[in-house]
Subunit: 150 residues, 2 copies
DNA sequence: AAGACTTGATTCCAATTCGAACTAGTTGTA
DNA sequence: TACAACTAGTTCGAATTGGAATCAAGTCTT
């Protein structure tokens, strides 16, 4: 019995994976219109809340991305003029990533459409009680998975 | 109000993305012990149900993977001796991918652990009613997203 | 204060993925 | 039948990602 999943279980599992993937694809398609990938949007959105900039390491940790991967993306965003690197005052080794004015503009431009898509393709399809259940249940799952990773 | 998401909405959205990602990572870590990636496992598992083999195109479509991506993976699996290619009888252009006996063994070996992980990190953390709600709600989301893609 | 760890970030390399171009076999049509 | 359009699969090139190695700067121990 442990080596099988019944209809409902399989449905919930596939639903989770498929819904997550498809939603991310839809988001990707939409962000492409703004000339950015989901990861790049996430970086910009994160920096939007930190006007003083964020350390590369902090940013990588928040985004659960490898250091080298972040270095690559920040370099891309820098070439595109959306992000700039700055030295940290205290630690000579540190590098701060922060938005350029254009980066801020582009992030703010992309935001409404992103939120609109999430609403249209996800939240608007659910009852408030379902949103509640999903939030609560998946939070439990996320907590468990994060714990077992450390 | 449309350009903001409240706590609950954000929680459900992040939960969906995070739970999906983390679960896939956990699955990946486990399958790595069997020397395969999630995609490779999915390919093997799919072929497990088609003893006569599947056309490359069909397989790519089922897995929502590009043709070239599948070519690459099947080549890898072929090198590993888990899959073999065969000619189709009717269409000279066609190629069938099918499991080797070893491929079948390896897929069957990996299966219980995979199911066990999905249970331990996901299903066992949820009430039956929650599983039901998630399955139903996400199915609606998946349907909507698939429709808007075509 | 010197030498040994540790830490922040980048560089380099291998793996994976997609799309475009390509090859070969099919189908349709005049 | 011959030519055009199409289909199946592969190959090639570009982008992305993670891990190992590397470099520079801090910190700690003695």
């Amino acid at each position: 019995m442990t080596d099988e999943l019944d209809e409902d279980e399989l449905g919930a599992y596939f639903g989770l994976i498929a819904a997550g993937d498809l939603l991310q694809r839809a988001v990707a398609a939409q962000l492409a219109e703004h000339g950015m990938t989901p990861l790049q949007f996430t970086i910009l959105a994160t920096l939007l809340n930190s006007s003083a900039g964020l350390r590369m390491s902090e940013l990588a940790d928040v985004l659960v991305l490898s250091r080298s991967g972040l270095t690559y993306q920040v370099t891309q965003l820098e070439k595109a003029g959306l992000v700039r690197r700055a030295a940290t005052s205290d630690d000579e080794r540190g590098v701060l990533a922060m938005l350029t004015p254009m980066g801020r503009d582009r992030a703010l431009e992309a935001f409404p459409g992103h939120v609109g898509l999430v609403r249209a393709k996800f939240l608007d399809l659910l009852q408030p009680s379902e949103i509640d259940t999903i939030r609560e249940a998946l939070d439990r799952v996320v907590t468990a998975l994060r714990r077992s990773k450390a």
